[in-house]
Structure formats: C-alpha cells, structure tokens
Subunit: 160 residues, 2 copies
DNA sequence: TCAATGTGATTAATATCTTAACATTCTGAG
DNA sequence: CTCAGAATGTTAAGATATTAATCACATTGA
C-alpha cells in the first residue's frame, strides 16, 4: 500500500492541469463559436495589445514552442487574420502583425471573453482570484531546474 | 490604447499554463530519461496508487480525453507497461492494469519524481505551495459554465 | 421481445506538442 | 575578410488534443 501522504503532495502539475481545464470550459464554447483555437486567440490578443512583434516573442509570451508556432502562423495568415513578413535588417526574424480582419475579430470577441472571465470571477471570488494569480506569478519565476545527472544526491530518505 | 487594467486580469488561463510549464521543467528531464511521456506517467501513478481501473476513470482522473487515451493505452501495452482487457460483465468497459514491468518502472521513477517535487517545494515554500494547491482545488470545482447562447446578457458595460 | 435510447470506447480529421535535426542568416574573433 | 559559432525559423516524426461521427454493447420501456 503506497504512502498516501507523500502521494498527495505530488499533484501540483495535475492540479494546474485540472484547474486550467475547469477554466477553459468557460472560454472554449466562445472560441469554438468563432472558429478560433486557444492558441490563435492568445496570439490575437497579444498582437492587439502590443502591436506587431517577432515570432520568437510571441512564442515566449504565448507559451508556444517555435515548431508549433510556425504552423499556427501559416494557418492564421491563410485565414486572413495576420500578416507575416521578414525583418528588413535581419532577415532571420519573422515579423507578425494583425490584419484588419484579425483586429476586427479580436475586438468583437474580447468583450465576450471578458464576460466569461467575469463569470469565473463571480463564482470564485475576486480577492481569492487575485491571490491565486499572484501565487501563479511567483511559481512562474521558478529557477531552471538543476540538471538531473549533475546531482543525483537529491534523493531524500522520505522519498524512498 | 487598450484598457490595460482589464487586460491584466484576463490571464488566468495563461498563468495556469505558464506556471505548469515552469513546474514541468523540473519533471521533464526525468521522464525523458526513462522514455515516458507526461501522460503515460500520470497513468502509471494512478494505476500504482489505486490498482486496476476502467479507461473512463483514467480519462477523468488523468485529464485525458478518451480519443487520446485510446492511443496512449495501445502504445503503453505495446511497451509492456500495462494490460488491457474487457470487463466480463459489460464488455464495453475496458479494464486497465499495471504489468509487472510497469509496476517496477513506476516504483523506480517515483522517488526521483518526488525529489523533483522537493526541489520545487524548497524554492517556493511549503506553506505557499499548500495554499496554492488548495486554491487550485477550489478552482477545479467551478460549476459548468452556462451555455453561451442561453444568456447573452452577461455582457457588462465594463467589458465593452 | 424488440425498438428506442444510452453508454463506453474507438475512428477520423485536423491542430498542436515535443524532441531532434536542418537551413539561413548574423556576428564576432582572429 | 573570413570562418566558426550563435541566433532564428523551419522540417520531420511521433505523440497527444479536440471535435464529430461511429461502432458495439447495455438498458429501458412499450
């Protein structure tokens, strides 16, 4: 019989995943109804908020790895939501900007998205939500982990 | 210029995503080193903790949609980690159980996984982590959202 | 008993994730 | 100037996510 006390703590990634599922359930119907994926919506908001930007920056801010981003941006351009162009100075860099249609769609959907958020806020409580977000913010700042092979002496007796 | 105060709050899904990324960075190297995916590891732990169970239960607990689960379980069986069989009484149900090799691997990896968790705990603080997890737990309990079409009057002036 | 309905899993099609390998383009030391 | 190494995207290949449709079996009710 496993040591259930130790097991309990082990669910941080799971909890983050499940919490995100619960939240996304509020947004998904809206995004589906306008034919956007989660990732596309994240990118649209970024571009509307901050203006045109490089692909690499989008990848960082939207938490999308570049191999995924490549395809996503191609499809978004094909759908008429964005424009893609190369930086004149450094042609490695890909500049992404919102198209007129993309901007219009974003501004149509944003208030509906906000309304979804308000529902969550109403259920969960405004203060608690702020507390949660600030904790998440801190968690995001975790230092990069030490390489596994470099330190195998991390095992505690309690872990065994 | 967008109303940045409203925008800020809108990042709950983003924060959950980024926080999860930060955390998974600690576990990924370990899982890669033993050739397991995140999903496979979640399933192994479930089975080791609770014993054999139906596919549907796994889907719920591990946050994996059944179409994905079908393939994952096939691959895990092919890898010799689990056994799949049909319920004698109700042959619609798929019973999944840990194989000897699967159990052994799970118990080899678990302490290493625990060690990763301790690192996170050490950086973030034990109390804060517990607080965070309890908040996440609550968030997971959010009621299912009201259907979009049924109530379009959710829009607040502030959202526009 | 049988048709209607419901449930659990799978298939299909498309999108995204993940790791590794490449291709280009820049940059800087020599 | 130039060539090795770094930075930025892209391809490739396999695994998972997502939605819709379907299959097989169960259950219910007339």
């Amino acid at each position: 019989m496993p040591t259930s006390s130790a097991q309990h703590q082990h669910r941080l990634p799971q909890h983050l995943l499940r919490a995100r599922e619960a939240v996304m359930a509020y947004f998904r119907p809206l995004l589906n109804s306008v034919g956007l994926t989660e990732q596309q919506w994240r990118i649209l908001r970024l571009l509307d908020d901050r203006g045109e930007m490089e692909a690499g920056v989008i990848a960082d801010l939207a938490c999308i790895l570049s191999p995924s981003l490549t395809g996503i941006l191609v499809r978004m351009e094909k759908a008429g939501l964005i424009h893609r162009s190369r930086d004149k100075v450094d042609s490695r860099r890909l500049i992404v900007s919102l198209s007129k249609e993309g901007r219009q769609l974003t501004r149509e959907v944003a208030p509906l998205s906000n309304a979804c958020y308000r529902q969550i806020e109403a259920h969960f409580g405004e203060e608690k939500l702020e507390l949660l977000i600030s904790l998440l913010n801190e968690l995001e700042q975790l230092p990069a982990p030490v390489a596994l092979s470099e330190d195998k002496a991390l095992l505690t007796e309690a872990d065994r």
